[in-house]
Symmetry: C2
Subunit: 149 residues, 2 copies
DNA sequence: TGCAAATCCGATTGAATTACTAGGAATTGC
DNA sequence: GCAATTCCTAGTAATTCAATCGGATTTGCA
């Protein structure tokens, strides 16, 4: 039941873009430095996010990345699904794979995994990047993360 | 966010033992046949469950396995934790690893993962093997799974 | 007493995944 | 034209997954 670093790093990187939303593109190097992530690795993750339409890129010298939508319109669930795939603990409750299990009909565990999936989705689909920014602003009242650069 | 087959098979195997609870030991071969699991593989999983005190074994010719507690006293969460480890989506909200992340203090994502963990736990810790047997009995009213052997 | 059925235990293995690392091409602001 | 950036592809060491196998030990039963 682990989330890989793809999802973890992805959410942190997207938060960083949300944090600077409206102030022009942010370079990957900046994001990587602020969140302690390898630039090379982050490069791959952001490519997936870009292809999924969650971020836009600006090439060239002062280029970087920008959220494709406003922070309030992107949820943690959006990011995780793009980077980790469907949030189904097992394939038989993954709607993208309708008939993956021959035992589905008589399987007693299927409804349990569906409940787990729903519980996870309810959390991650209700938290937006805007929510995260709000939380961070509240928490850092007077310390640390108010550095102007 | 996937559950490995360890957890899936483990829950199904434990359900099978619950299904025959009070009727003497059930051999691994029987469990494996009924749940379409490799006996060799299941052998490894049941060994873990035994060492964790969830099942007892009876060796010898008519031996097999028996739940160590009554079905109502074993939850899906018990089984998953034994076979898959702590249900923390990331290590920083795993209570067994107190100081695994230097960024914990200023990390905005930590509380999200804690919410995900809690949501999962609320589901799997509230479902017992007895619940599963009850559900199965309800569902199979008149079809299939009432085979006398 | 011996056979068969079972649990036990440890080793191996092919495939996939993870988390990077690296190299180099293309784009663009200054 | 140079430096900073995005873009694309490939490689790679380590780990985990999901079995598979061989053989030792225990025990019920004829």
């Amino acid at each position: 039941m682990k989330l890989s670093t793809k999802g973890q790093y992805g959410v942190r990187a997207m938060y960083e873009l949300a944090h600077s939303y409206g102030q022009g593109p942010v370079s990957l190097k900046t994001v990587a430095d602020r969140q302690d992530i390898s630039v090379y690795y982050l490069e791959q993750l952001i490519a997936v996010l870009r292809k999924a339409g969650l971020v836009n890129s600006i090439r060239g010298a002062t280029g970087g990345y920008v959220l494709a939508r406003e922070p309030a319109a992107i949820t943690v669930g959006d990011i995780i699904r793009v980077l980790e795939g469907p949030v189904a603990p097992v394939d038989c409750v993954n709607d993208d794979l309708p008939d993956c299990c021959a035992r589905a009909a008589q399987c007693i565990t299927k409804q349990i995994w569906a409940q787990v999936r729903d519980a996870i989705e309810q959390v991650i689909d209700s938290i937006t990047l805007a929510d995260m920014c709000r939380e961070a602003a509240k928490a850092n009242f007077g310390e640390g993360r108010s550095d102007p650069e």
